[in-house]
Symmetry: C2
Subunit: 490 residues, 2 copies
């Protein structure tokens, strides 16, 4: 890299103003570093500000205790290892569980409000301002046998009436708080500014970045370190084609700046990537899901429907290639609270399962066998195949309905892979390989001097599976560590 003339100098340059970058900025500035955050869009917040805002924390937080739940770092660890395997990052999970109470306190000190009330409903986030919920199937098979169940989805308090799902939720409340603390601590923020290149010195140390704002490049020196935290790559079809081709053409969660730019910046200086194929996908809404059976193209069930709806979606998408159906009876459908049906309508309604098979295109008799087996055991409150909880078990009776979750960009029709497959929504979980301290590692597993990362730009807690609250959870937790490590780096 030729010698540069610097347009600006800071101690720590943070690229990306979502929850990872802002947590890094807060912690670096608390360590007396002079910090600049550059953000591509017109305001800080990133995908976090649009999210439901769940933060996965446990081990006995004040909210858990006030709501009457016992928890420990050990049980949280057992759950997270099971839920994120294969590929669980044991060192990160250990640090995360041991540091969870401290992290809760830090968020509270940052002004993030949590109401000590438990949401026991089935929606994916509380409709009101409750502060705690189950968010990863901890209380369903198999996790309820692996670790003592406790709800760990902590939700920043925001009056339900102020929420606009998918646009302004509790994640907005979190980012508002982090932004205010950062500003108070003197963090500078420069929006509408995109980082295009890292600057590396002759020894391979990252010492700055070339950023562009309204068509003008400037070169910013980072005396102590650069923190990459620009989100995932769900909105970059070229990267999806390389790493997660199944997702092409599906509905995505995030902002269109989730194009993997900061992952590629890391790779350009020799960073390793990790679990780039990992994504989470979800399809059906849980209030109807737990009152249905979900079956594949052979009419067979493949998971307990009271599991975390993201896990059900992953099973439907990965195992069954999206060829799945929700089957229910009238009584089940009608028992979903009206405000929780969200416009879902049966694709087909039939008097008999045999008719439904014909409509669905499932081989004659195959779904009948499944429903008979399910009903025979549901009668006794049992689900020998998948251990769905007895409270969600009763025999299904005519009339029946089904919702078609199939999507057609399948393995045999790549020419349709950008087609209308919108039953599933997903985001990416893979990214740069980082240490638990937030250092970016090269392909020999050694830290790249001067380079740090956090959030969905990295491979964090979720790898082989996901739980709601893990993205903002590890974004803020390891964002703090990345910012602190950068501030202390010389």
């Amino acid at each position: 890299m030729p010698a540069r003339s610097w347009d600006a100098e800071v101690d720590v340059l943070v690229i990306g103003g979502g929850c990872g970058g802002m947590s890094a900025a807060v912690e670096a500035s608390a360590a007396e570093a002079d910090v600049l955050v550059v953000e591509r869009s017109g305001a800080i917040g990133g995908a976090s500000a649009m999210a439901g805002g769940l933060i996965y924390m446990g081990g006995g937080t004040p909210v858990q205790k006030a709501c009457g739940f016992e928890d420990s770092a050990e049980e949280m660890y057992k759950y997270l290892v099971a839920a994120t395997s294969p590929g669980a990052d044991l060192a990160k999970i250990e640090a995360y569980c041991e540091g969870s109470l401290d992290h809760f306190d830090w968020l509270v000190r940052c002004g993030v409000p949590f109401k000590s009330s438990f949401y026991s409903g089935m929606l994916s986030e509380p409709p009101g301002d409750d502060g705690l919920m189950y968010s990863g199937g901890e209380n369903a098979y198999p996790f309820n046998e692996i670790a003592r169940p406790a709800p760990r989805g902590h939700v920043p308090q925001m009056p339900g009436a102020d929420k606009v799902i998918g646009e302004r939720g509790s994640g907005w409340m979190l980012m508002k708080s982090l932004g205010e603390v950062a500003a108070r601590q003197g963090v500078k923020t420069q929006c509408d500014t995109r980082a295009n290149e890292l600057v590396v010195d002759g020894d391979g140390r990252v010492i700055g970045a070339v950023v562009r704002s309204f068509g003008t490049d400037s070169v910013i020196k980072a005396r102590r370190g650069v923190v990459l935290s620009g989100g995932g790559f769900a909105f970059n079809d070229d990267m999806l084609a390389l790493h997660a081709p199944r997702m092409l053409g599906h509905s995505k969660v995030g902002t269109d700046h989730d194009d993997g730019k900061t992952i590629r910046l890391g790779q350009s200086v020799g960073a390793a990537v990790k679990h780039m194929d990992a994504t989470t996908a979800y399809a059906a809404l849980p209030p109807l899901l737990v009152r249905s059976i979900i079956v594949n193209a052979s009419g067979s069930r493949f998971i307990n429907e009271d599991q975390y709806f993201g896990r059900v979606g992953e099973a439907a998408f990965y195992r069954e290639e999206g060829e799945a159906y929700l089957v229910f009876d009238e009584e089940g459908f009608e028992s979903v609270p009206p405000e929780e049906i969200w416009g879902q309508r049966p694709t087909w309604v039939c008097e008999t399962i045999a008719e439904l098979e014909t409509e669905m295109g499932v081989p004659a008799g195959a779904l009948e066998v499944t429903v008979d087996f399910f009903n025979r055991h549901a009668e006794h409150g049992e689900d020998p195949l998948f251990h769905r909880d007895a409270k969600w078990l009763r025999p299904m009776r005519s009339p029946f309905g089904a919702i078609d979750l199939r999507q057609k960009p399948g393995p045999t029709s790549p020419e349709h892979r950008d087609g209308p497959g919108y039953s599933y929504s997903f985001f990416t979980l893979g990214g740069l390989h980082t240490s638990p301290e937030g250092r970016v590692l090269n392909t020999s597993g050694e830290p790249i001097p001067g380079l740090f990362a956090a959030g969905r730009t990295t491979s964090g807690l979720p790898a082989g599976g996901y739980a709601s609250g893990c993205s903002i959870g590890d974004g803020t937790f390891f964002g703090r560590r990345a910012g602190g490590s950068a501030a202390r780096s010389t």
Copy 2:
């Protein structure tokens, strides 16, 4: 990179002496380049020399024609796109199919012998010296409906009596021929030599490599280009943990030099990687498999058992997390030719399916339902669920047996991930992102000047699925292109 004093200079430096590297060397030397192959082990050959040696070719080769099979580049393309989706590399597949007849001729000119006889048995490679076989389920559902079936697994002729499966097969014959041609064309080969570092000039062009032989480093200048072709990464647990964690602890196919070193060399200079999660896995031997049903932990079938055994293995491993069983009856087991049973023994033998369920730990009644449904339709030569061919359909009758394919490094017990899970054998399919010309691409999709790659160091034809013959097929085909591109690069 500081200025170097060169210990040697060549036009093209090839790193790795397997089928990709040797094909590159042959083609580069044919283009008048001065070529050096460095190989880590004591002799050229790599994993290719241990392999069954199948080469996936079609479009109407002389062997296909002599055996009475019609084929075309179009049908071959349709099959390969379907079999390797999602993530199929359409540009590579197109080049591969269009160039297949020429590639066959090239191999023959290199002295690779092919006998014009068709092997119609079920083993994964011909026990004798037959030259052609189905090797990817082309004649089974769903591929038989997607493209006109033709056998495309071409096997270099080697007398069956000379074969030692897994040690010296037809792949040995291929590598012997390529090695002889290379030597005749003046290619230099330096064994026991490992490449540890690429040398890059100030403009980012790869201009050589630092190699180590018996403890001594030398720096070799490559005037035109470096070709990376050092195999996959099945034998590198750190890389498996990053990219394909399910595979940890399982039996691997390859050599212990398949540690991803040449992939990491590419990454160290900014190369993109592709489909790093992709692997192929197989478990059951086809002669018994087609006479059994394969069921999951719920006792349900999940694929037609007459599909390519690699595809069945991938379904069992990925979809069912390895929790699969082969279930057969005495008549089926006894009808496997004795020389094709390979020591497989039932894990359990029972008079009734109900007893078998108890032994297997499948919920009572679940397997009975599956066998009843299968038998009812098999009676009429039908398999409405998975379209297994009628010639492999007949009702199963007492006594029954089953083979346990479960393996226990599962998603809930990462501490056992290096445990004894040896039912499945696999190798990796992901690697460097290359163009159809064999150029290594960076994360912006642009060629890295002076850098080329081929074989399992790259992501080649197989991505979302595999067929036998694709590895040596694309290794030799795109190896030639990489070598030719390097020789013409200035």
